[in-house]
Amino acid sequence: MTPVAIRRWYVVHKWSSLIPTVFLIVLCATGLPLIFRDELQDMLGDEAPLPAVAADAVPARLDELVSRALAARPGEVMQFLSFSDDRPVVFATTAPTIDSPPERAFVQPFDLRSGQALAPPPLRRGFLYVMLRLHEDLFLDLPGQLFLGLMGILLVLAIVSGVVVYAPFMRRLDFGTLRLGRSRRLGWLDIHNLAGIGTVAWLSVVGVTGIINTLNPVIVGIWRAGQLAQMTAPYRNAPALKALSSVDGAVAATLAATAGMKVSFIAFPGTRFSSSHHYAVFVRGNEPVSSRLLKPALIDAATGKLTDIRQMPLYVRILFLSEPLHFGDYGGIVLKIVWACLDLTAIAVLGSGIYLWLGRRRAPHERRLAELINGGEPANTP
């Protein structure tokens, strides 16, 4: 590589790292508790244990639960029914209008084994909520989300340029060299390089999946305008619904067409995941990967008949798989601990990067480049 090329890549690495550093440290720090979200929810009592049910308890009918949820919130309408992944619990979401935003919604959980109403989960408060919002959008909604996506793009650029400038730095050093006994700067320089190059694969996966996750609203919007609009096109000019058919019937019709799958959530007619004439019943598989992928089945809410069912497009499936790959919550507690250690290593890379920059920020460019080309040694080394 020519000295000019090294100089260019060095400048790219410096600015693509420095600009997002503060935000990336916030993301790493808030991401740490989110890795252990399930464990912390149990510890903080966000998910109360389920009460024991009598042996002869009759499983609840969804239609009945919908009626009870609406009776508890007079004047509101049903938006969604969401099923818990690991507990026999369904969450009924009601809101003042069918198109109300999530922040105006109210959630009532029910025990599916008995139909018993459970204590509502803490919504929009608590430690995990604050961590999640800081991590997702810095409490700035869509602009914050897209801004963090931009920071993610800079992170990917910093990784690529970091790999490029790693080569001239290591030209005369063994892999894994750590000169901690010499100067503090040299020690941190070696730790920065070794930790950075070692975590390249993990950091790239977390960075890229993070960018994809920030595009969630955009991807959902494209899906609604594309596949969902196609699936509901025959109903575009249909008259308004007078009454809704049975929710249990919609679930039964869906499961009859999707053997071996289970229902993840149901969007009621008029919500953003359905049309004004359909229940959208989203099902998922039972295998490790298929359990992460949702498949929409549209049920005519007047007749209760299945009208269409499709695999979601590739870009939506990539979004679904990005979430576990970003949070590391798909391989049990050992993977979560590994994820947390790698997260701390990433903080060390970011922190050491700032330390190294602060130590040389007033030094001439040539001196900094000489340090890079000479593997951290003084510039007069041949």
Binding site: L180, D190, A195, V289, T345
Partner: protein, 71 residues
């Protein structure tokens, strides 16, 4: 790099072979943990942790060596 070692200039492959190996092991672990379920995930998690197995002992060894030199 104390100035007394012979001057060695490594090839690009010489520089990147270990990082590529670590990234491959770690990356395969990431994907395999997503594709499987059960106790085998512990093995894939260890693969994901490959960078930690390099960094951890390296830092400890360097710290011990630095402490020894000081005493």
């Amino acid at each position: 790099m104390s100035g007394t070692e012979p001057l060695v200039r490594r090839s690009t492959w010489g520089i990147f072979r270990f990082p590529v190996l670590i990234a491959t092991i770690s990356g395969c672990g990431l994907v395999l943990a997503l594709l499987t379920e059960g106790p085998i995930d512990v093995l894939w998690s260890c693969a994901v942790a490959a960078p930690l197995f390099v960094l951890g002992p390296g830092v400890l060894r360097a710290l011990f060596a630095a402490a020894k030199r000081k005493t």
